[in-house]
Symmetry: C2
Subunit: 240 residues, 2 copies
């Protein structure tokens, strides 16, 4: 990071104080080197070409991996009975572009991003990237444990609705497969109804485990019906 002096200013400006308050409030972290957080919030559109490195891209690269490790730790301990297939799946949902954007928006990061307006820039992309860069900044500023504490105690608690994420995003059919494999049970999806009426398709699927009927589900595609039947089966089994 060359030419950091561009960012140095002393005494602290009004904007600096606003930024410090924001980081403390949303991340539970008191910045030591404020310049790191300014860089984390600087989109490359603002730096002219020769200052290319003074943008948040390098911190985003770092923060992305730190966040991944922290979330893996979180899930490893939260789900001690689940195998690595399940953990991988949930992690990929938690660190997806979509989830990161939701978190960043909930935190109000956009208000603090410095970028050049008038270009065709999608703010949603900027927000998720700036969020990752801020995690990178905390890591450089105070180390891994500080970043972990921030994620565990501030970010996940206040800005991620994990139950809804799990409920919504996890594919029930896959979970059911994993669950039945673990328990050595045979599983079969039977198509009970397939009809076209009133201009749309209707499907009804029933799950059989060791030849016994369990959950049923309906939908306008076989896939939707299978998901619903899988969910009901998992509920009947007490697995969710």
């Amino acid at each position: 990071m060359r030419r950091l002096f561009l960012f140095r200013s002393s005494p602290k400006s009004k904007n600096d104080l606003k930024l410090i308050r924001f980081i403390i409030k949303k991340f539970g972290h008191r910045p030591k080197k404020l310049v790191l957080f300014k860089i984390a919030l600087t989109h490359k559109s603002i730096s002219n070409a020769s200052d290319k490195l003074i943008s948040n891209e390098r911190l985003e690269f770092l923060g992305d991996t730190i966040l991944d490790a922290i979330i893996a730790d979180f899930l490893f301990h939260k789900f001690p009975e689940e195998d690595e297939g399940y953990l991988t799946k949930v992690k990929s949902k938690m660190v997806s572009r979509k989830t990161l954007t939701t978190i960043a928006q909930s935190m109000g990061i956009a208000d603090h991003i410095v970028y050049q307006t008038g270009r065709s820039i999608r703010l949603a992309t900027l927000e998720g990237n700036a969020f990752e860069a801020l995690i990178g900044a905390i890591y450089i500023d105070s180390g891994y444990e500080a970043a972990k504490k921030s994620i565990f105690h501030s970010v996940l608690r206040a800005h991620l609705d994990l139950p809804t994420l799990l409920e919504k995003e996890i594919d029930f059919k896959s979970r059911l497969y994993i669950w039945t494999q673990k328990s050595h049970l045979d599983i079969e999806f039977k198509l009970i109804t397939e009809k076209f009426a009133d201009g749309k398709w209707f499907y009804e699927v029933e799950v059989f485990i060791n030849s016994n009927p369990y959950g049923k589900g309906t939908g306008d595609s076989k896939k939707v019906a299978e998901q619903a039947a899988s969910k009901e089966t998992l509920q009947l089994m007490g697995a969710i």
Copy 2:
């Protein structure tokens, strides 16, 4: 991790002592909870189905992300002038399956892996996975900083030839493009010679930067010739 008691044994057996010595010698880490390291070295082939969770897969899931974060930190500081595109590229080479297997083989991890023989298991895959699981074990045993210290001071220093990896694996044409973009220079690859003689093709390529000739390269394909010309240009420029 249920039923860990299966792994507990006291006083320490000869095998335990051998394992402790191995972890200290190769990872520079003294195990606190030896059971974690035993799990990290247990392939799923050995656990019967109901004990599925007592294998190294969950630790491998965790260790994979920890290793990624530590390598990102390493590169972030090692290459302060490189952009995130370069860092991403080098990281992906350093944590590739191929590199991890090479490291694991150099460390002699295979001798300590517990797996069921007689099945069609590729030992090379097991080694890289066990290496990641061992990083996960150090992380759970003593935290992130301990894992980082192990990677920085023991693993990378003794078991990874980074210069050769960079030299061999990095695509010189891409590096040259990145370099010229950063420096706002125009770049052009000119095909000087293309001929078929003695049953094979011969290509000669010359690099022009801001219309001035720089490196030349030859090869039996245009791609090989371009790589060689790019490498020579980077050398002439003092960029490598």
